[in-house]
Symmetry: C2
């Protein structure tokens, strides 16, 4: 008799526990009252003043008290203590570390909390991406990685419904579009320009619908956007973490009793906040950086606050406080059925004061930014080869390797204090260490995959220092193999440049045909960079081609004697025109100053005077207007641009394979202007640093292009490497800007390209990493390439950005008729993001000399954005992207796309790759232009997959690899 | 079928939970290994930098992060998470606050933890008593209060087995004796003199048997004493609280892994510590001030440490780490069955460096020390009347009142940062506020009790400012009543002194007979102290008597005209001898300097030249020898004593009721030397302050008595007002002292008395509060009466002890033949601790003019130490004390002792009053003198209760009050 009711009780408890997550689990609200949604949260930077591991374990607490392991322990315990409590968590990098250390009992408790909506994931990326200095490829990696983790361990209840970009320093339109396409119903932001925020508060426009793309049909890229009232902090005086010093709620009798004042203060804050927002619901973020290490403090005081605030209702108070989550708050906004403002531009740049433009981080730590971009490219190579060669590639023959370590390192690097350069030096070093570790595991995999696909047993050799012309194999060997892997879906031609000590080599292509090659002397700058006696004397050049998603193998043999022609030499060329040219371009330099003077596009016969030089701004150390110094976050020049040199020494090299002008601006600033046959762009390879600061002045170095183009204050920058936005000097599209910093206030992030144009011509600069850029004068264009600062800018990092580094990078400069679409260089930019990858071998290399994973190249406007192992065995994550530009709708047969395996099933997924597209059902929001209809889920015919311009479609592909017998 | 096994399981779980506490619940140890007992604990000061409530709630966290409510919440949760974990807690003041706020579910969980020995109470007083500046009456109050709380809520498992005096600044023998008599098996100390500790470490004498009394038969006052290795901190590098910055144990893979170093460091610390102790068990205190607010940090890391340390055993490590408690550690020491060193002196004074004698706090904050002592006395009055009048006295007729608030305030004041004067100023103010609140509730009770016992309806009037001659009732009324309540068990005669504005009054005793009285002018110093215009012009004097444990009522009426004689006046008395006298003493002053010159005891005809003056030491601000400054804790003079004045102005008042010489030393230093008929002592009432520091020099003020006594470096001070210890200049009984501070290093705490003697004479000074005292030169005796300092002494309080206060106090000076027992003045000292209490009324006062709660006075050497309401209704806590001295065994009939109620049962209790004496079974320890036998529990015959000299016996008395019909 006793057992049956007990059993029933247990079943009922079980049923209650499974009652629902997501919107179904939201707490009740009070229609007639002002509902204050209290959202407990912890903002856990995936590295900043401490490394990821230091934050996780709570090491170096003297520098910053923070231990994420305890936060998660503590929150889980405290949520368990009271079913009314809620908590939201964002950073899956930490969650996954923690999850791996929990026993099954704890995991089960956490799963229950998630199922019941008491623990809700927001954002849910591996980290909280920066939006200004990231490439969309990187944010997709990190968002997908985090979301797939959540889906894997928590099922549908683990899938976040709101974006949670509460700390990034400005917000990009492309990120908004990404979030929409991943299935988020809304996103909450912490930081928007202070002028913007005031303007929006005045007209209750802090909550709005953001249209993330002009190309995609609404509501595909629409996302509801809420700007939080206090960045992500609680209202003043209501902070109850161990890291705060506000008095706790004291409701006992005794001399310290303060509950009446606390409640009154809360009610004042709520009432004031409610004036800025449109509904009878407001949100308060109850948490901050690394809060909830002792979650009990927060929850015990919030319990009391809620009880006492609501008890006042019996005295006529019209305020109702409740534990809630951002998604529950969002649901109430949606229920309000209002018409919301529409925004179509972005939230960049961000400033929190008249002299506080957070535009320095667009360029901070250029070496880290370069390594991050390089790693993102190599991750694609690694993932593709992992998918093409199948699981066997993870196991041998050259060791165990996979892409996961590099993927996690790249995901971590997207964090808003990672690629941004706003972390402490030792943390930047740790990000690089993580990337480097990931490279190691990927190189093993790449070697395995090439051996499997190509049938070689030679161990692969990777030369990671080719940028300074170091490679022991090629320097010492008379006979080696070069494998060029091409991650793009179209054939590429790529200039190979290898350090050698011989003077003459024979290079043969996959078919055994000889290729033109040449040894040129190593430049003095590179020898200086290499920083050691000896090393290669020359560099072997040849132009190599590789098939789509595949490789070509090139054999190199040193000839016993020097070749027929004398080796080329640097010339000073005092007389004659100082110029370089190929079939596309002619580039002219001023023979007096040695500076770039003119670019001619030989096809259209168009020509443009282009004066290029390097300048530096003196970094402000604070002045009478404001004590604000330039720092890791903030760009604040205290001078106009000062030229590094007015006249440069030059050396010219002209060979059939390359024409180069070496410009030496100073002992720490040089550049090579380079044209190669077949390349329709001017490559400018700069080598900068260490920036001298012996004069006590921090310096912010720019490359500056001056043209006579009549640009009328307009220029164009990309949004995370995908979209293009028009920028106007001293102007913001949505409010009446009061410009207080004429240079910094016009800086925008450039992820892959910036351009200016007039009616006839467009001058474009493609970058190899994120940089800040602007057009401060009509016809001009500048990019900040390096910075070295002597002051902290008081945004918490507590260190001056004083990197004594030499940085080498590339710009590609294009001159086109203005008729070309503004975003017509997506393809070229993509080639810089995912360039071909060189693998060397001591012997003859693979039997199979050439391989393509595709049966045919993709049309020029289509891009194989992602080819990577999928969640399940025998599955693949595939993303196809339409690069836009002038291409119209494209159609593709996925089932016959690949040569390496047979496609057996295809399921379309949302952009994150974690949930089937058909399961996505997003809230729709009304604006003045109406309420969009829910987009129909396209009926998928994998043999006829269409892509509209700028569209990305994501698929889970089930496939089978050919047996040992071969395909 | 299903229900039965479930029920069985629940029963089994219940049985397991009740498996045992105390020594039965101790964790297993490993005989062959070094067992490291890790003792998680939190040292929670009952006020210091913050008030009790501020610490409890976690207010003012900016000044010191500490919130005890969270500590207890957190520890309970973490103990629940793992049955291996242990925690010990000491301060019941906090526990009781917390307990009152818990729901039944939490209380039940806590009870379970206590039953299972996972949560163990140590110390268990209301606070952790200071031992140098407390009176034994106060420590008994606070220990008893805490222990009774624990017994009440947790039963036998809540009773602490070890004393836990880990922070007090030196240790008294009387406290050791008290702990033994309360039933403790041992006590652990944190602070002993640094020289003592080194010496003891060298010969493994850090653990010892301490014989707390030379008067009581062993083992009655014996207590095993352990000196902890690191005060009460963990070994360096092994601190895992949120308040520490040591790295956590990182045992995952990753760049931060450190577990191997942490374990090695732990093993080194354990091995080094083991060398200093005798057994294969050592104790490590894993906690510190206000640790465990986030207990999870400590426990998670200790879990890991224990696991990894013990895992090393498989590699040959001989160290075993375990969660343990001090009592479990103590049990292992006892099991070792060793012969332990015996100590018979005390651990005072304490120094932690050659110039760091913690002797300043003996005198710091004399006003607070005075108020504490005054309150302790009034608490006895209040408790006695509560017991004598019965529960009705708590309810009316003058309001609700009881003794509990004052008892708690007095208990809090015993804390080692309370009465010590080592707290911040605002905290000292809060202690005074608490006492004052307690006085208020007690005054209501006293009024009620007097009304009930005496049959009056007049509301009682309390004049708390009589010390500055302020009392509105007596100043304005021509007719009022004085009730004198006497808390002693013998009749007293007490000088009443009331501010009046008339010149002549008629005072009648309880029998209606007129009493001699007189109005004397208010002294100029008192008028200045009173600090206002107006106020009483005169003071009415009369000598009043009151019966044992009872009151007498005196009627006062102003006479319409001045009396027969002229009112007495101050005289300068330029001519004639400057002296005062009564039947006992003649006191002579130097007519030239005005200073005390000679005291004659007229009975024995003995006379002693006594030169008394006030001096100040310049407080050190640090010097070349050491940066140590004099401060709240530390006394470090930088000069010899400087006289306040070499000559003082005097005024003499001689009346039949009093002879007074007023000495004015300076604008901030004065004294009244006073003799009254019948009083065999010279009263010196000093009024000191604010000490001038305009010269930038902190000053430490002493009263100094110089005599020709040949004292050979010896003097005598009391131990908490009970025992007497001989002190020798520049000497410690148990180690070869290297004296580095000739003054401070010879200071000892004086709680009630200090004396010097030679073969013939003894000069004794009784104090009205605790003060530091010494005999720095032979024949001299000094007491530090006030101090005002300008530097913090770097022991954490972070404030200079810069009290600009005027302090008024009394010394009673006695000159006796040396034959008198050294502790012959216990009775007189007791009268200063529990003086009669004055209650006034506007009308005629009680019908019953005189009342005694006793049927007869106690013999002179017996003292009614405690008469207070007991734990149960109708019970009384009774403590009888033999004051020692020359009295032999005394016998008493408890059943017929009281007149106010009928004794129906008597049970003998241990000294704390919380446990029956018969239930006490203490561990016995062997010393070189053998193993004492367990003391037989005396068979109690309440009609013949015997007390040996210095014995205290404690009883729970069950009684019944007479019905409404009266006794």
């Amino acid at each position: 008799m006793a057992a049956a009711p007990l059993l029933l009780l247990l079943l009922l408890l079980g049923a209650a526990a499974a009652a629902g997550c997501g919107y179904q689990s939201c707490p009740p609200t009070r229609p007639g009252l002002l509902n204050v949604h209290l959202v407990p949260h912890s903002h856990d930077d995936v590295g900043w003043l401490k490394t990821v591991d230091q934050y996780y374990y709570g090491v170096r607490n003297r520098e910053q008290h923070a231990g994420v392991q305890y936060i998660l322990d503590s929150v889980v315990a405290e949520l368990g203590a009271d079913p009314a409590r809620r908590f939201v968590y964002a950073e899956v990098a930490f969650l996954s570390l923690w999850w791996g250390q929990q026993d099954e009992d704890t995991r089960s408790r956490v799963r229950d909390l998630v199922q019941q909506g008491r623990l809700e994931f927001v954002g849910g990326g591996w980290c909280m991406s920066d939006e200004a200095t990231t490439h969309y490829g990187g944010t997709l990696e990190q968002m997908g990685l985090g979301r797939r983790f959540l889906r894997r361990h928590f099922g549908p209840c683990g899938t976040p419904r709101v974006g949670w970009q509460i700390d990034p320093f400005g917000h990009s339109r492309e990120m908004a579009a990404e979030l929409a396409q991943m299935g988020y119903d809304g996103v909450f932001l912490g930081r928007v320009d202070h002028q913007d925020k005031v303007a929006r508060a005045q007209c209750q426009e802090l909550e709005l619908l953001w249209r993330g793309s002009p190309s995609l049909d609404p509501p595909n890229a629409d996302i509801f956007t809420g700007i939080l009232p206090n960045v992500y902090d609680p209202p003043p005086g209501l902070c109850w973490d161990q890291l705060c010093s506000d008095p706790p709620v004291v409701d006992g009798d005794g001399p310290e009793r303060n509950v009446d004042e606390v409640v009154s203060s809360f009610l004042r804050a709520a009432t004031a906040q409610a004036k800025l927002y449109r509904t009878n619901h407001i949100i308060m973020t109850m948490g901050s950086d690394f809060h909830y290490e002792n979650a009990h403090l927060w929850f015990k005081n919030l319990d009391k606050l809620i009880a006492h605030v609501n008890a006042r209702q019996s005295n006529g108070s019209r305020v109702h406080a409740l534990y809630s989550t951002p998604s529950c708050y969002l649901r109430e906004l949606h229920r309000a059925n209002l018409t919301w403002p529409l925004k179509t531009d972005d939230f960049l740049p961000y400033s929190d004061g008249p002299h506080q433009f957070w535009a320095g981080f667009f360029s901070s730590r250029p070496a880290l930014k370069g390594y991050e971009r390089l790693s993102l490219g190599f991750l694609q190579v690694c993932s593709q080869l992992e998918a093409l060669a199948g699981p066997a590639a993870r196991e041998g023959p050259h060791g165990c390797g996979d892409s996961s370590e590099l993927r996690e390192a790249v995901a971590v690097a997207q964090h808003h204090d990672a690629v941004t350069g706003t972390e402490r030096q030792h943390v930047a070093d740790d990000y690089a260490r993580r990337l480097s570790g990931g490279w190691g595991r990927c190189q093993v995999l790449v070697g395995n995959a090439l051996s499997l696909l190509g049938g070689s047993k030679d161990p692969p050799v990777f030369c990671d220092a080719l940028n300074v012309s170091v490679c022991p194999l090629t320097e010492t060997s008379t006979h080696f193999t070069v494998v060029l892997y091409n991650p793009l879906a179209r054939r590429v031609s790529w200039p190979v440049r290898l350090p050698v000590n011989g003077t003459c080599y024979e290079v043969t292509d996959p078919q055994g045909h000889p290729l033109p090659s040449q040894v040129v002397p190593v430049s003095g700058v590179t020898r200086w960079l290499r920083g050691r006696a000896g090393g290669a004397r020359g560099e072997l050049l040849f132009q190599a081609q590789a098939p789509p998603l595949g490789f070509s193998t090139f054999r190199v043999r040193q000839r016993s004697r020097g070749g027929p022609q004398d080796p080329p030499k640097w010339t000073s060329e005092e007389s004659g025109p100082l110029e370089i040219q190929n079939e596309h371009l002619r580039v002219v330099f001023d023979p007096h100053t040695g500076l770039l003077r003119e670019i001619q596009n030989r096809h259209g016969g168009v020509s443009l005077p282009v004066l290029q030089n390097f300048y530096w701004y003196a970094a402000s150390a604070g002045d009478a207007l404001s004590p604000q110094a330039s720092g890791a976050y903030i760009f604040r020049p205290s001078s106009g641009p000062v030229p590094v040199a007015k006249r440069v020494s030059t050396a010219l090299l002209k060979t059939p394979l390359v024409q180069e002008l070496h410009q030496n601006f100073s002992s720490w600033c040089s550049q090579v202007a380079r044209l190669r046959p077949g390349q329709p762009f001017l490559e400018l390879e700069w080598t900068l640093g260490p920036i001298p600061v012996g004069d006590g002045v921090g310096k912010e170095l720019i490359t500056h292009f001056q043209t006579p183009l009549a640009t009328a204050g307009r220029f164009f920058t990309d949004s995370n490497g995908r979209q293009i936005l028009e920028r106007r000097r001293d102007y913001r599209p949505t409010w009446n800007l009061s410009q207080t910093e004429p240079v910094a206030g016009n800086y925008y992030p450039v992820n892959t390209r910036i351009f200016i144009q007039d009616e006839k011509l467009q001058l474009t600069v493609l970058t190899d990493r994120s940089q800040g850029g602007s057009s401060v004068q009509d016809g001009a264009l500048e990019l900040m390439v390096h910075r070295r600062l002597l002051h902290d800018d008081e945004r918490g990092v507590g260190e001056a950005l004083d990197e004594p580094l030499v940085v080498r990078g590339r710009h590609r400069v294009l001159l086109d008729p203005a008729g070309a679409a503004p975003d017509g260089h997506r393809g070229r930019a993509q080639e810089m993001v995912t360039p071909p990858h060189l693998v060397l071998a001591a012997g003859d290399g693979p039997h199979l000399r050439q391989f393509s994973g595709l049966r045919r190249a993709l049309p020029p406007h289509l891009h194989l954005l992602t080819v990577a192992p999928g969640e399940g065995a025998g599955t693949l994550l595939l993303r196809l992207e339409h690069l836009g530009g002038r291409g119209g709708t494209e159609t593709l047969d996925i089932t016959t796309l690949f040569s390496a395996f047979t496609v057996t099933a295809v399921r379309e997924m949302a952009l994150g790759g974690d949930i089937p597209l058909e399961s996505v059902s997003r809230l729709l929001w009304t604006t003045a232009t109406g309420t969009p209809k829910p987009p129909p889920v396209p009926k998928l015919d994998p043999r006829r997959v269409t892509l509209e311009p700028m569209q990305i479609r994501t698929f889970e592909v089930t496939m089978s690899y050919p047996g040992p017998g071969g395909p």
